[in-house]
Every structure is written in C-alpha cells, then in structure tokens.
Symmetry: C2
Subunit: 373 residues, 2 copies
C-alpha cells in the first residue's frame, strides 16, 4: 500500500492546527478513522487521535502497537506519540487531555458516540480535570475535501484502472446471466487490476430493478431488452473511485435510447457548470434542468454527485441546497462524482457516473469510458 | 433474500417490550442498523426505529419509502408505522416522541452520535416536550445473542456453504501465487456458493505475515515452507459466518506441525468447555490453558471467539474477563466462533476457526472442514 510522504501529513496537520486556532480550541479528539488516516497515514480498525496544537498522540489497541510504530517510523519528519491502550480508549484520552487544564478541547460530534462522550467526561471529572468538551463538526473533513497533489495522483491512477475495469466487463454482460454473476465478474476484475477491495457492494440492476437506485445484485437474470445499471467502485491505497454505466441487453428501445441520451446530456451540463468558487448546488441544478426539460425531473430522485477520497461518500455534496445545510463553494482540487440518473418505476432506470477533479479553469474527467456502449 | 416470518419479528419485539418494562422505559430510539433489521426485517443503509411499548415507528429516507413499505407489508402481522423523512431524522424523531410527555425515552448510547443526541434534545425542547433521554446499552444486542430457530437455520445453511468454500479453495493455494490472488479465488467461490458478499476483507497471510493476526492480503507470494492463514467469511440473508484454516505450502516443518496440533487441541478444549450457564471467559480460559502448557501462552494474543449473527462481531465475547465488563453466561442458541491462534513474530502464525452453536447439552459444530489439510 502506498502512503503519502511524511511532509504531506505535516502539511495537513499544519492546516488543522490553523483550523483549531480559528475555532479557539487547544486540542481535538479525532474519532473518525478516515480522519485519522488522513492526518497520520495510519489505517486502523480502532484508534483515537488526540490532536493538540503542540503535540499529537495516537491511541491504538496495544496489540497493534508494533505495526503502527513501524508505519509511523517510515513517515519522515512526522512526530506522533503512540500510546498502546490495553483498556478503554476513554481512559487513555482522559489521561492525555487531563494534562491540559482547559475547557477548549474539541470532539467530533458526528463521530463520537454518546457512550464514549459520557465515559470521557466522567473520567475527566474524576481525574480532576475540567470537563469542557466542545462539540465540533467537519474540521478535518473540510480539509480532506481539497486533495493534495499526492492524493490527486492516487485518485487519477485509481480512476484510470476503474475505467479499464469498465471497458473490460461491459462486453461480458450477456442475457441469461444473473445480476450476482455479473457482480462477481466486476469484483474479480477490480481485484485483477490492483484494487484492494470494492469500494461498496457492487450494483447490478437489470430490467425493472434498474429503476431502484439502491438495488444491489440479486438472482434476476439479464434478459433481452433490459436496461442494466452497473455501479461499482474500488479502493486503492485507501482512496475510493466510483463509476456507473447503463447498458442494454440486445437492442435498446427508442424510449431507452432517449433517456440514455438525456442522462448523458445532464451529466455533460453538470461538468460544464463545474468551476472554482461556484456553489455545489449550481452543478446539481445544471444537471437537473436538462432532465426537467426532458420531462424527467421527477425521475431524477437523487443528488448529482458526492466527493471521493478516503471515503466513497464525502464532501462536497453535489446536491440541491437544503435549508440548514451550508452551501459549499467548489475549490480546485476537489474530486467528486457526476452521476445523474432517471428512474421509471416498474420500467427501468438509467445512471451514468464519472469522476471529476476541479481545476483552476473548470473541471477534468478522471474516468474515461464511452458513455454509451 | 430470505427474511424471517412476521411472527419471529413479533416475538423479538415482545422480548424487547419486556426489556423496556424492566428498564422502566416508555420507548427506545434504535439507531443501530443491525438492531433495526433484527426487529423489523428492514436492511437499510439509513433508518431510525422508534420502539414504544404500544407502537413502533420506522423512519426511512423518503426515497426508500416505497421499497420499505413493500417489504414490511410482506411480513404478516407486523405493525410498523413507516415515516418517510425528507429532512433530518432528529426532526422526525422529535415529532414522534414529542407526543409522549415522558422523560423515560431510551437512546442507544453506543450507536447514537453526540451530534444526533444534541439535535434531538434541542428539537424536543423547542417542541415543548420533556427532553429526558436515557442512555442505554445493549438492550437489543442482548436479545440478538440468542438465535431463534429461523436464525439458526440460516446460520447452519451459511456455515455449510462456508465449509464447502474452504474445501474447494484450500487445494488451490500454490507456491508463487500472491496473497491477493488467493483472496480473489476465495471471494469468487463465496459468491459462487450463494453468499451475498464477504463478511469482511478476506485474510490471506503468508510466511511472516501469518504472525500478524490482522494482516489482510497483499502482494507477498506464497512460498514453499510458508504457513498461510486463510480467514474468510460470508453474509447470507443478512447473517455472517466466519472460518479460518492455516495451511502449509509444501511440507510443514516440525515446529509448524507442533503448533498446528497445539492450536487444534486448544480449539477442541474450548469446544468441550461450552455449555449453557457457563461464563464465556471460562471457554477462553480452556483454550488458553492448552496453549500455555505448550509454551504458547504469550503467542495467543487475542480472544478465543466472538458471536455471529447480523454482525460478524457481536455478543457473546469469548475472551478473558476484564474488570468493568459484565461476565456473560452462555445460553443455548448462542452462535460464536472458536478461533485460538499462536503467533511468533518474524516466523509465522497459526489460527484455526470454526463456528459453533450452544445446545442444551453442550455445543455443536456448524462448520465442518478437516482442521489440518
């Protein structure tokens, strides 16, 4: 597994330090595992990071301490104090933050459970430290939304491989095959080209199943005339890419061809709307307008895209603006999907999805596969 | 996907109602998705269940309402009020529980985030209802630990298929193959025998990698003389099964053969210790004693097993007793792994894992594959 150079982690940590200063926090308890991977290069199944403005502690299960030490030592210049925790993480966190006589310690409110929060406060109180835990949201996620050049390199590589997978597997979809057989072919090919694992449960949705955006892959057989939505992704070096194509088994009906063309046009309109500074909802609006004009406004029942990175769904959200949700202006270096779709219950659906990066001038496709095959 | 008959869900709900009464709660907000699947048969990627003693509400994303309705209607006798949520779940929860002028509403403290908790309390206060949310832990998980006959049927079926996978793939491990190639063979076979997906990232750990219990599958080639730990599992109809074997490439060394035999003996000792009423740590202790007597006490660096069901790691924990953790007595109908191991850093490791069910008289193996091949 490739890991970014130590300097990249130092730069990310410097940006987080600035965010903490701006929020008047002395430290942040980082519970989100992707956030920990982003800041330290450690991909762990359990860990907690205590990120103070002057020191960084990484709590890992005592059994994983040796492995974590070796990985950290490989990252030049990165100073993270590793603590092997034999008991509860909250006990170790309380011991570390107890040294700070401050009530300006942030927690990640969307990633810490009520139980962990209660345990931590109780232990801090009984250790005689001030229990001031400040609920924060998205401090690290906001940094993650803009990829550094190393990350862009990994995503570009991964998107290229995913395009190869698409080109290889689409001709293999044949009448009589079950959805789950096709999913197996896709996942074998993902592994063959080097992905560590699928980024999510592969979707193969045939016939009327294609009208259900969140269908997985079942026992239905692909049949002549079916629309088939193929939606698959892979994780490479910790980074997720995601691609969908909708194919027809045999000859496409006139109606299917029209909807396919409309969705491709909507995706192109979204792409054309991407540029730094533009609010993300305007990109969604561009795709939505095309489909509304084609009479498919109601049929487009989800957002236009989602950020890609250490998670397969992350910032930015390319969706309609919603009251209470802050509007995110796009920035160069953001990577996300553009995946408009149209779904007609009982008949079928179409989704076309590619990955793009925001450039100083607009956008660039990362995936490269013919839209209609 | 097979789903239990409606009557099973009614029985599970009746048991939870008893638990709520015992805890003096009027309702429980269920955030854990496996817990929701257990109580309603709905496998959703986002949902919240409000389980009151006299009524049950299921909040789902408005886009999934139709599918959820159809699935619920198929479960005879099950009365769950479906609510499609267009905005935040907390808004919908507050609206439902606001009708209860009570401060006895439980939340799942280990599954609800601090953010959701704060949002919910704020909305309840501004709606004029009493904000009494009671932190609870494990109310549903404790019920899930004892499987009903339908669940045992699914787990028995799944364990049989997983045994078939093991017998099929073990002869395919050859020198020169990379760990990740072997993982691909295993995952293709999982799918071929009918699993919906792997239960976790397949582990293929060759040579010195086999000494790292949490190694995944990388680029290392299998070589003559290697110990290779194969640890894989599958999800079938929502239920997880899990199996490990350790094989040797070519002829096993005397040392490898001895450790393999010791681990098999430890697993048998654990099996012989299983019976209803016995504290789970005593099963761990039985395996540990065998390895300690073989001089491998330090080398056995993890617990002996974990419960299997809607999650691949659930109750009961078959581990050493730890201060602060309640000791769980085994009950007939519990299903868990027995997976002792021994790991020698830099040299190699062994893990042998099978799935068992607690019977009135003792235990029964669910998986059936020769221990040494």
């Amino acid at each position: 597994m490739l890991v970014a150079p130590g300097g990249n982690f130092l730069a990310r940590q410097a940006r987080l330090r600035d965010s903490l200063t701006a929020a008047a926090l002395d430290a942040l308890v980082v519970s989100s595992l992707p956030n920990i991977a982003y800041l330290t290069g450690l991909f762990a199944s359990t860990a907690v990071l205590i990120f103070a403005t002057n020191e960084v502690w990484l709590l890992v299960d005592a059994r994983y301490l040796d492995g974590a030490s070796a990985r950290q030592a490989a990252l030049e210049g990165l100073k993270v104090s590793l603590i092997g925790s034999g008991g509860s993480f909250e006990e170790s966190i309380a011991a570390v933050v107890g040294a700070y006589q401050t009530d300006r310690i942030g927690i990640e409110a969307s990633h810490m459970t009520v139980r962990a929060h209660q345990d931590l406060e109780r232990r801090m109180v009984s250790a005689g430290s001030r229990p001031g835990l400040v609920a924060t949201d998205g401090l690290v996620e906001r940094l993650r939304a803009v990829k550094d050049p190393w990350e862009l390199g990994r995503l570009r590589d991964a998107a290229g491989r995913l395009s190869d997978v698409a080109k290889c597997i689409i001709p293999k979809a044949l009448a009589g095959m079950r959805e789950r057989d096709m999913a197996g072919i896709i996942e074998a090919e993902l592994r063959r080209v080097g992905f560590d694992r699928p980024a999510f449960d592969t979707i193969v949705a045939a016939g009327s199943n294609s009208a259900v955006p969140h269908h997985r892959a079942g026992d239905r057989q692909l049949a002549a005339g079916d629309l088939v939505v193929l939606d698959f992704g892979g994780m490479l070096d910790g980074y997720a890419v995601d691609l969908s194509r909708t194919i027809t088994i045999g000859r496409a009906s006139t109606r299917a061809r029209r909807i396919l063309n409309d969705v491709v046009a909507a995706q192109q309109a979204a792409f054309d709307a991407v540029r730094p500074g533009r609010p993300a909802p305007e990109v969604d609006e561009a795709a939505r307008r095309v489909l509304e004009q084609a009479g498919l406004g109601e049929a487009f029942s989800h957002g236009t895209g989602h950020g890609l990175g250490l998670e397969v769904h992350e910032r930015p959200r390319i969706t309609r603006s919603r009251p209470g949700l802050p509007v995110e202006p796009l920035e160069a270096g953001m990577v996300f999907t553009l995946e408009p779709g149209a779904y007609v219950a009982g008949w079928g659906g179409v989704r076309i999805e590619d990955d793009v990066v925001v450039t100083p001038a607009g956008a660039e496709w990362l995936t490269d596969v013919p839209r209609l095959m």
